[in-house]
Assembly symmetry: C2
């Protein structure tokens, strides 16, 4: 890494990538220039730290890059916007193989390209551990932003995307499952592998987010801290109480299989597991739900009690993953 | 830090800050929304690592924050744009005093506010060393972006802002000068202190960048790697040779004093010192130079030789600071 130098790596990975037409000035100058046709730009940023948000013995560098894009892209989708451009600042120790920095950048580039977005800039610096800092820009295409504060009593609560899979995949990896050994093609092993893949590269329901924004969604958020925690952000911002029931959420058979294998409660993954980057939203009526959305509860007036009730009771387990609580 | 939690710190520092009218949706939702009235947004990102880009025994947390804003804001200024919004992702070890994270955020907030820009989002995560990752958005206000590739043979080369001061300040700090002891109010000590302050908080010539953009500047860049290195980027992008002369650049008396004190060559600081975030540009004629710009040379046709000549010769010292070469 030290020999090759930052410019070579950046240029190698970024410059050869095709830019969408929304990239007016791409990487290589002091700044990039991105189209924001409707006169506004949605923007969000997240930082991933090696050993905390990813492990290179559990994920390939490309998977780390793809995960960084998913995490950031979901924030834009949760506003009802479409990602247009990513910026990536990468900190690497000098002994980092070039293939790792290039692989992370490649994963970011491929995932951005799949979204029709460009990778328009960033930075590469020397650090003690690998740090991936991503910023995403998005285009509302003339629509109003979908905020957390729009939920109203009487709304239907719905989710798009999968829940608990990333947490289950992490639990499997932490138990040493799926890390090594020959591939096991049994049905159970295949579904456990799928959970691990969900942890490595979450798949936010981007299209469902755009469909919701076009269908009069009232409030929306991405599920990064856990369903209960993120719904409580919506409830607090909207001054309402959100009531969900587990029967409507349903139990993913793969989660049931993983829970049995690890002797764990799958509902802890579903209700408090973060990083799936599913979307949760409220709609005025169940008739408004676009394809890909599942009703899981309802919005009640705020009553000074718990922000979120699960099957009529406050969920007493941890409220989801937060950086400084995760140890 | 671990006790207070990320949300408390972020909310404490970010939420109470006044947002400019260009911040349509501020921090606290999945993403922010920033005005981009002319239908385009300029964007750039930089990462600062503790021990490499700043030291907390040499700078206060607030100075680190201000420096991060200057470094990013200068990239936007170099495109001829005005900074509108900053996003800050901060990585901190758990033992970091809250005052450090809050101080960095405060410095970023105050410096952004002075530019009329908002701090609209970011992230706070646990890391092994302090990492400050900043993204800046900017508004071209309908003007064409000013690129590095616009220089033409016959142009005048000019600079705005100061050169070599940050490098001299760093050299002084590295020699133990200005780190401790009672204040020395002699004239020399005052000018050395000013150099150290320039290292701690560079002052990019934002207004001169906007004036240049309005005055038909042809090419512009910020000086972050050193005058010769950054001019060589302009020369390479434009296919020209840039010729500067030291008499036109002039020798800042404070640099002369520091050079005498440290027995160093002040021209190494001026020609290859980075991090001042001055601006370098080319104009069609000297009559086009706005206030605050000083002509230092001329643009010649590209001839396959050195990208930059200083007093007619290639500058043979290191081509300026690069992250992975700085050791």
């Amino acid at each position: 890494m030290a020999q090759v130098g930052e410019f070579a790596v950046i240029e190698q990975v970024v410059a050869r990538r095709r830019q969408p037409t929304t990239t007016l000035v791409g990487p290589g100058d002091d700044a990039a220039l991105v189209q924001a046709t409707d006169g506004r730009v949605a923007v969000s940023a997240d930082m991933l730290i090696e050993g905390r948000h990813f492990r290179l013995d559990w994920s390939t560098p490309e998977q780390v890059g793809r995960k960084a894009v998913a995490q950031n892209g979901a924030d834009i989708a949760a506003m009802g916007a479409r990602p247009t451009a990513f910026l990536v600042s990468l900190g690497c120790p000098p002994e980092t193989p070039v293939s790792v920095a290039a692989g992370i950048s490649e994963g970011i580039g491929l995932a951005a390209e799949a979204l029709g977005a460009g990778v328009v800039g960033g930075d590469l610096v020397q650090s003690d551990h690998i740090v991936v800092s991503v910023t995403v820009l998005g285009d509302l295409e003339g629509r109003a932003p979908v905020l957390r504060s729009g939920a109203r009593a009487g709304d239907v609560v719905a989710v798009a995307g999968r829940l608990g899979r990333s947490a289950a995949g992490l639990a499997l990896l932490s138990a040493g499952i799926g890390v090594e050994g020959p591939p096991d093609t049994s049905t159970t092993a295949t579904s456990l592998t799928a959970l691990i893949d969900s942890h490595r590269v979450p798949a936010p329901p981007y299209a469902a987010g755009l469909d919701a924004a076009r269908s009069g969604v009232r409030a929306m958020t991405d599920i990064s801290d856990g369903l209960v925690a993120d719904l409580s952000h919506v409830a607090d911002a909207s001054g309402v109480q959100i009531r969900i029931d587990r029967d409507s959420v349903g139990l993913d058979p793969a989660l049931a299989a993983a829970a049995e294998r690890l002797e764990r409660d799958p509902w802890a993954w579903i209700l408090t597991g973060g990083e799936d980057h599913a979307l949760a939203a409220t709609f005025a009526s169940v008739a408004d739900l676009p394809a890909g959305w599942t009703a899981i509860g309802e919005v009640a007036p705020g009553n000074g009690g718990a922000a979120v009730l699960v099957d009529g009771r406050p969920w007493t387990a941890s409220g989801g993953w937060q950086s400084f609580d995760a140890g």
